[in-house]
Symmetry: C3
Subunit: 134 residues, 3 copies
Amino acid sequence: MSHMTLEYSANLRSEGRLGELCRKLAQFMTALRIDGAAVFPTGGVRVRAIACEEYCIADGTAHDAGFVHAVLKIGAGRGDAAKQATCAGLFEIMKEHFAEQFSKQGLALSLELNEFSESGTLKHNNLHARFKKP
Amino acid sequence: MSHMTLEYSANLRSEGRLGELCRKLAQFMTALRIDGAAVFPTGGVRVRAIACEEYCIADGTAHDAGFVHAVLKIGAGRGDAAKQATCAGLFEIMKEHFAEQFSKQGLALSLELNEFSESGTLKHNNLHARFKKP
Amino acid sequence: MSHMTLEYSANLRSEGRLGELCRKLAQFMTALRIDGAAVFPTGGVRVRAIACEEYCIADGTAHDAGFVHAVLKIGAGRGDAAKQATCAGLFEIMKEHFAEQFSKQGLALSLELNEFSESGTLKHNNLHARFKKP
């Protein structure tokens, strides 16, 4: 269960191409390997974006400004190298995706990692079977 | 203060009947009793769903796939039996609600429990008075 | 990085003036000073609201009821006085903003504080430079 949620200001909706960004981030996660082993099972990855119609950035005077805040939730227990590679890789994709906007308007990108104990979670998922390596 | 938030992929919007699901989950919580005592005060229960228009599940190749991820936040201090009964009961309702979709399309359901300290929270709520038992 | 997210029931959308509320809350945060020092750097403040189309409050019988739940996330390390002043001030603004609705319909307002370790976060933000004091 590896979840990424992007909250973003709705002024980025059209130019931000958030659907495409979700795809890039998910594909990075499903492809990531450390010492040859997959860090995240493919069937457990879910990336989504939520547009916020109402928002205020800083004191509200930066009228062109936008934001994207990513919360990444992963099961606890992965090593520091895996977590480091995950966060750095995902954030690099976000920065590259918004490079043009960053150069011409106010923009705040951020990413926050949360680890949770798998013991407190419940799952019912038919995707793992589909993506099981033969 | 007992909050449940369902983030779901927008492809489930019409067939998923999320409004109905919110109602079932809230009514389970308000009716739940352990040793004859209500686990959650009726006036403090709030269940809601947020549709995510942009998302990517697994590596993006499972085009029919959907997801519902539930975050349940409750005040700390309840016993293990109450937490177990709450999570198991809520998740059973989710699975039953989506049984048909689960049998015919890619679907990932999950539930995550968060306990928070009531000391860091503020409330202003006129519903408790309405639902106070006479 | 100081984030506030308001989840609210969609029945408050028009009368709730959430955009205006976001502005008031953000301006309170950027203006807040303790012992003459700013508690939150202006360029790091982001307040937003997310309308929930599907929801159930209490057991679903309070048909007029609405809710606004605020999650405030701030970097760990601020003193108790700063945190107290922040939460109390923000919640007072929420209560005042909704005073009329509170007097005439079911309404549940709540605020929850989360502190996170800045070490687990990544940022790329061109707003700090703009708001830097000369």
